[in-house]
């Protein structure tokens, strides 16, 4: 069997890519997409660990999928409100609140 470490490295790599996306993207939609990528990396970690330990990690993964879906719904509602108010989803352009 493939050692657990490889799955954990895959999960860490995906998490890092998602983190880079959150920090470097300008469009709010792409930032939310990167957060989804991070949450899916967590899922890979959980399911791989559950397969090796024969534990309840798969159930935790189902909870995570549900919470991620709800979070994305909320995030897009707020982004939609921003788009209606400003006409853009570029996060660099929202800078009324400073220091």
């Amino acid at each position: 069997m493939v050692p657990l470490l490889y799955y954990q490295l895959l999960s860490a790599a995906l998490f890092g890519i998602g983190l880079y996306g959150v920090l470097a993207r300008r469009s709010a939609v792409l930032i939310v997409l990167s957060i989804e990528l991070m949450l899916n990396a967590v899922n890979i970690n959980l399911i791989a660990a559950a397969s090796y330990l024969n534990g309840i990690g798969r159930v935790i993964a189902i909870f995570v999928i549900t919470v991620a879906a709800a979070e994305v719904g909320l995030a897009f509602a707020i982004i939609l409100r921003m788009y209606r108010n400003r006409g853009t989803v570029n996060v660099d352009e929202i800078n009324l609140l400073k220091w």
């Binding site: 991070m38 990396a41 967590v42 979070e71 707020i78 409100r81 609140l97």
Partner: protein, 461 residues
């Protein structure tokens, strides 16, 4: 629920004990206070008021579950329930651009922090095979556990909780979210979400990590450094603020620093720190409630929230000015007010726990915080009230001395009096002021209740 009897629900996921019970009553009282602040504000400025109160109730449910949870996934789900309600509440000012911007910043950073915390949870699960706090404590106590994945998991879990608490390298969402959100939601963020996150952190550290002995000592140093940086940054940046809500945000970051110092000295045989932290949370909540109630009564009358706009409040709304003065003195930690007693217990616990340098930094930050609280009080009590306000200003300026005719009995410029605060706000402020003064002079009954609460998570104290 009799003292001394602990019950577990759902096979160990939730604990019904003194700690959970105390915090549930506490969160419900906070909810009542926030609803009292939100009544008049909501009628004037919020659309969809029904959903506002519904979201508030859901978030209180989330807070209750956070205080009761004994397992990482339950804690995470409860934390997300609280956070989702708050994301929507912060963005509730639909027409205000600042509210929308605060909502965007809060949800993006909040989602990022929950992903980080979840990654930590998954690492802990991968290393140990269990997510129960008691399982983590058992694994950490045995010297055979030496898995780097576990350390990464614990560190990321603390990072995720640090975001929720707005501890310092993770605090960037707090000033924007506090400034943009509607005022009752700012009060709720400052009081409710912080208290719930602290309840969760207390239970997590006391049940899962503190029993581990010398491994805990390493983490204690990490939390102590976090606390020192939080205190210093929160109080020093607050010196430069000119918006009231932003000032309260940085002030609450400073208070999070003090409370984290108390958490850093937790130990399996040292329960004084847990009692001091819980007492500090209660006092912080009551004091912030009266400060925000005062700010709400001023905002309801004028719609302004900058520090300079408070000029002359002592003449215009004397009751609100007095309540704000008592609240700010208590936050600064001046005697006979509850803030002094709370800080005294907390800093004494920190010094007893061996972190003398941390107590010194805390006292220095407390002194610094006095400056910016006094700045607000200077505006209220010493600066004269501006003679005109709002649109009347231009008309009066055109008419030159026209306003002299309106108030012939005044020998100088008339003071534009503000309406008295509403009944609910006045009642909230009155009860809160009485509580602040009572807890400052005679905290023993509350301390007895807190003893009952903290002995549930630290049985040997």
């Amino acid at each position: 629920m009799l003292p001394g009897r602990n019950v577990e629900l759902y096979g160990g996921l939730l604990a019904v004990d003194g700690f959970g019970l105390f915090f549930k009553v506490f969160f419900l009282a906070i909810g009542i206070g926030i609803i009292a602040i939100a009544l008049e504000y909501g009628k004037a400025r919020l659309q969809h008021r029904g959903e506002f109160y519904g979201l508030l109730l859901f978030s209180i449910l989330g807070m209750n579950l956070m205080a009761m949870s004994r397992e990482l996934l339950t804690a995470y789900i409860a934390l997300e329930l609280l956070s989702f309600s708050l994301y929507v509440l912060v963005a509730y000012g639909l027409r205000e651009a600042r509210s929308n911007e605060a909502g965007i910043k809060y949800i993006i950073i909040g989602a990022l922090s929950s992903a980080v915390m979840l990654y930590g949870l998954s690492n802990i699960y991968a290393a140990l095979g269990t997510t129960y706090f008691s399982g983590i404590a058992a694994a950490l106590s045995s010297p055979a556990t030496d898995n780097p994945v576990l350390w990464v998991g614990l560190a990321l879990l603390i990072v995720g909780l640090g975001f929720k608490l707005s501890a310092v390298p993770f605090h960037m969402w707090a000033p924007d979210a506090y400034e943009g959100a509607p005022l009752p939601v700012t009060a709720y963020l400052a009081i409710g979400s912080k208290a719930a996150a602290f309840a969760l952190t207390l239970r997590l550290l006391a049940e899962a990590v503190a029993p581990a002995g010398d491994r805990w000592a390493d983490w204690q140093l990490v939390i102590a450094v976090l606390s020192a940086v939080t205190m210093l940054v929160g109080n020093l940046v607050a010196l430069a603020q000119s918006n009231l809500k932003r000032l309260m945000a940085y002030s609450s970051i400073g208070h999070v620093g003090y409370t984290l110092a108390g958490i850093a000295v937790l130990g399996d045989d040292f329960a004084l720190a847990a009692k001091a932290v819980i007492f500090y949370l209660v006092v912080y909540a009551i004091t912030n409630l009266i400060v925000f109630a005062g700010l709400a009564s001023y905002y309801n009358s004028t719609g302004k929230d900058n520090i300079a706009d408070l000029a002359g409040l002592a003449d215009r709304q004397p009751f609100t000015a007095a309540v704000l003065a008592i609240g700010l003195f208590s936050l600064a930690g001046l005697p006979i007010f509850a803030g002094f007693t709370a800080k005294f217990y907390l800093f004494a616990a920190v010094a007893d726990g061996g972190f003398l340098w941390l107590a010194g930094v805390a006292i220095f930050s407390s002194l610094v915080s006095l400056y910016y609280y006094l700045q607000v009080l200077r505006q209220i009590y010493i600066e004269p009230a501006a003679p005109e306000s709002g649109t009347e200003g231009d008309a009066a300026a055109e008419h030159g001395g026209g306003h002299h005719d309106a108030e012939p009995e005044q020998d100088s410029l008339p003071v534009p009096m503000l309406p008295r605060p509403s009944i609910t706000l006045s009642a909230t402020m009155g009860v809160g002021v009485l509580a602040v003064i009572w807890l400052g002079i005679y905290p023993a009954p509350l301390l007895a209740v807190i003893e009952f609460a903290s002995s549930a998570i630290l049985p040997m104290g």
